[in-house]
């Protein structure tokens, strides 16, 4: 019989989110004025619409939207607020854009402690500041208890792609080098470890972070990638498989060169999972012309030392191959859904 040291009477959470906070009345205005506004700036509450100055001098508008529903809200290395900012910022970065503004949609569950909301908002603020984006407008709804998971967040991001930048799967060519901006699989394993109470002796921290510094380093080194893609759900595998399919080329990855944190690798061995399929939230795969590969790698390593060159684009029909240490190759495919831990 194990002994549970937690106190049977939970400590009071302080004031909670109630349905009134979503009702459009005084409670809602207080929520905006006292919690959301001070944290993320009053752009989020002045008006439902915002006029923003995003594109200048022949640049193009980049737009992306993403919803965040992570459980638990706080995990080693990050939280849903940080995730909601960087997830959208990274989607913009992968198009070659300079992120400018975000919109912030909050769906709060009745009963959420306001202190928890404040922590999430503070995290949104600090991530937005770091990425140099402004929350231009937003929306807040409250759903009944049991109909949400504490907080759901939607962010839409707008950015500017300079006229000199053209990045996308259609630019990928046979012979391109494939690089990854850092070790893969950490976010997926960090969330799994807290969700399933796996209790690893060495906590695995999410890689949740902005890819803007990585992109800036590439630009400073005068590298124009043919394609960049942030690795999120489905991990490195999903990003590479998508690009291979879109570019109609085969991609050969050298399994041994894919960087994986030793803790993540050990956890994968225990659970029967493959790190290339686990989610990342601060990593991207970069395709560059072979002659730029060394420069690109050096630029990526200056931001994150675990960055690596992991493969090559070959002629083909959209398949991705993993070359193993014994000279064999196997097909890398998307898993059907969530990875299911095996029995024995």
């Amino acid at each position: 019989m194990s002994f549970d040291p937690s106190c049977p009477v939970p400590a009071p959470d302080g004031p909670l989110v109630t349905l009134a906070h979503g009702g459009g009345g005084r409670a809602m205005h207080r929520l905006l004025a006292e919690h959301i506004g001070p944290s993320v700036g009053d752009g989020a509450l002045r008006h439902d619409g915002a006029v923003v100055d995003v594109v200048r001098d022949g640049g193009r508008l980049a737009v992306t939207t993403d919803s965040f529903v992570v459980t638990p809200l706080f995990f080693p290395g990050g939280d849903i607020g940080k995730l909601a900012v960087y997830g959208t910022v990274n989607d913009l970065v992968a198009t070659g854009a300079e992120p400018r503004v975000l919109t912030l949609g909050l769906i709060l569950e009745e009963g959420l402690p306001l202190a928890t909301l404040d922590r999430v908002l503070a995290s949104i603020r600090s991530a937005a500041d770091e990425a140099g984006v402004r929350v231009a407008t937003g929306d807040t709804k409250v759903v009944e208890r049991g109909k949400g998971d504490g907080v759901f967040i939607n962010t839409t991001g707008l950015g500017e792609v300079p006229s000199s930048v053209e990045i996308g799967a259609w630019k990928v060519r046979e012979g391109d080098a494939v690089l990854v901006s850092g070790d893969v699989g950490r976010h997926g394993m960090a969330v799994l470890s807290v969700r399933e109470s796996l209790g690893f002796a060495t906590p695995i921290e999410s890689d949740c972070g902005s890819l803007l510094p990585n992109w800036r380093a590439l630009q400073a080194a005068n590298v124009v990638p043919s394609c960049m893609r942030d690795c999120t759900r489905g991990g490195l595998a999903a990003s590479v498989v998508e690009i291979g399919g879109a570019a109609d080329v085969d991609i050969v990855l050298d399994e041994g060169s894919i960087p994986v944190d030793p803790g993540v690798r050990a956890a994968c061995e225990i659970l029967g999972l493959d790190a290339v399929h686990l989610a990342c939230e601060g990593r991207m795969v970069v395709f560059a012309r072979a002659e730029d590969a060394d420069t690109a790698l050096a630029a990526l390593k200056s931001v994150e030392p675990s960055a690596a060159r992991i493969g090559t684009v070959t002629e083909g029909t959209g398949r991705v191959w993993l070359r193993d240490a014994y000279g064999g190759e196997r097909l890398l495919d998307l898993p059907l859904g969530e990875a299911l831990p095996r029995i024995c």
Partner: protein, 362 residues
């Protein structure tokens, strides 16, 4: 990574493959019993390093695959009950029953939860006293001790809202059925290393002797697999048929006495239905009388399972080593991991899933 890298070292793998090539003078067909071994062979491409004379036959050692459709139908019926919280290992979620699977039942409102340990299900039963918590006890001798521990713990703590739906299977009777079959294609076995970690090696001695087949206890890393094959081929070439342990770092002859005692206290051998193989005497585990009150099959009035299988699926032949996944007409077109016709296409230990995942070229 310590304890893994040294067993995946490319130089060591190439040296062992060369040694195996030199040791092989005649064709041999060797069955790796465990689905974990099948996946390791295909994932690391070790099967492609073997000399022409050595052919691998994939064995029935995938617990998900050999669980009969009738049992899965009963699990589905239980999981759909509003008073039940149904706990399972993740592998079972997508295995098709006659009409549906556990993920569909969950989407339709059934309370289906993935657990990593049977004891987590007992804990859940304590937290949810108004619910009936059922654990789906599947697996070979490797997972049986955990299930036995859970039942024993529930009995000691008087946790009456916990029960188990038992579908445990045992390896030696399956080996006997394969070795003794008239059309057997197998010359020797690589026994499943982790089963032997629990049960030890003694149960295999009479089999090796009676059927004159070498049985080599084998691990799961590339050098483990090659060492197991090498030992098996050497025995065959020399005309020996012995039980040999090539997984010394994990397996002792006596196994794990504490785990065996717990299994023997809670369970007794019973006849068991194997998907694709049929009923085998004393090939499964049932709860002993003292623990009958924790038997979900007795506690709940369960309809007899329909047990309908897709006629095109050749899972049974794949599980007996009679055919390879690619020999099945449905493989890779009508039957894929997205739309599996049979369990070997679902499970992370199923041979069809291994071939689909790593070998498909189109």
């Amino acid at each position: 990574m310590k304890y893994v890298d040294e067993f995946r070292d490319p130089a060591a793998v190439r040296a062992l493959a060369e040694e195996l090539r030199q040791a092989t003078t005649r064709p041999w067909r060797i069955m790796e019993v465990c689905g974990g071994q099948t996946h390791a062979f295909v994932r690391f491409g070790i099967d492609r390093l073997l000399p022409d004379g050595v052919e691998l036959i994939h064995g029935p050692g995938c617990p998900v695959c050999v669980t009969s459709v009738e049992v899965i139908d009963r699990a589905l019926a239980l999981a759909a009950r509003p008073d039940v919280v149904f706990c399972t290992f993740g592998d079972m979620l997508r295995v098709p029953g006659s009409t549906t699977d556990l993920l569909q039942v969950k989407a339709a409102g059934g309370d289906v939860r993935t657990v990593y340990s049977p004891l987590d299900a007992v804990k859940l039963a304590q937290q949810l006293p108004d619910k009936q918590v059922v654990f789906f006890a599947v697996g070979f001798e490797t997972t049986a001790p955990g299930a036995a521990m859970a039942v024993h713990h529930a009995a000691q703590a008087g946790i009456d809202n916990f029960s188990v739906l038992v579908a445990h299977v045992l390896v030696p009777p399956a080996l006997e059925a394969i070795a003794g079959a008239e059309d057997t294609a197998v010359n020797g076995f690589l026994a499943a290393g982790h089963v032997c970690t629990v049960m030890g090696t003694e149960a295999y001695r009479p089999l090796a002797e009676h059927y004159s087949m070498p049985i080599v206890v084998t691990g799961f890393e590339p050098t483990d697999l090659l060492r197991g094959l090498l030992a098996c081929v050497r025995q065959l070439e020399e005309g020996r048929a012995e039980v040999e342990n090539a997984y010394e770092r994990a397996v002792r002859d006596e196994g794990n006495p504490a785990a065996r005692t717990m299994v023997e206290r809670v369970f007794e051998p019973v006849e068991q239905q194997w998907r694709g193989i049929g009923a085998l005497p004393a090939s499964g585990l049932g709860l002993r009388e003292a623990y009958h009150r924790f038997d979900a099959a007795r506690r709940f009035d369960l309809p007899p399972g329909e047990g309908r299988e897709d006629p095109e699926c050749r899972a049974g032949e794949v599980l007996r080593g009679v055919c390879k996944p690619e020999d099945c007409a449905a493989f890779g077109n009508r039957c894929t991991p997205d739309h599996p016709l049979g369990a070997p296409m679902v499970s992370s230990e199923g041979a069809c899933a291994a071939y689909y995942r790593y070998r498909r070229t189109a």
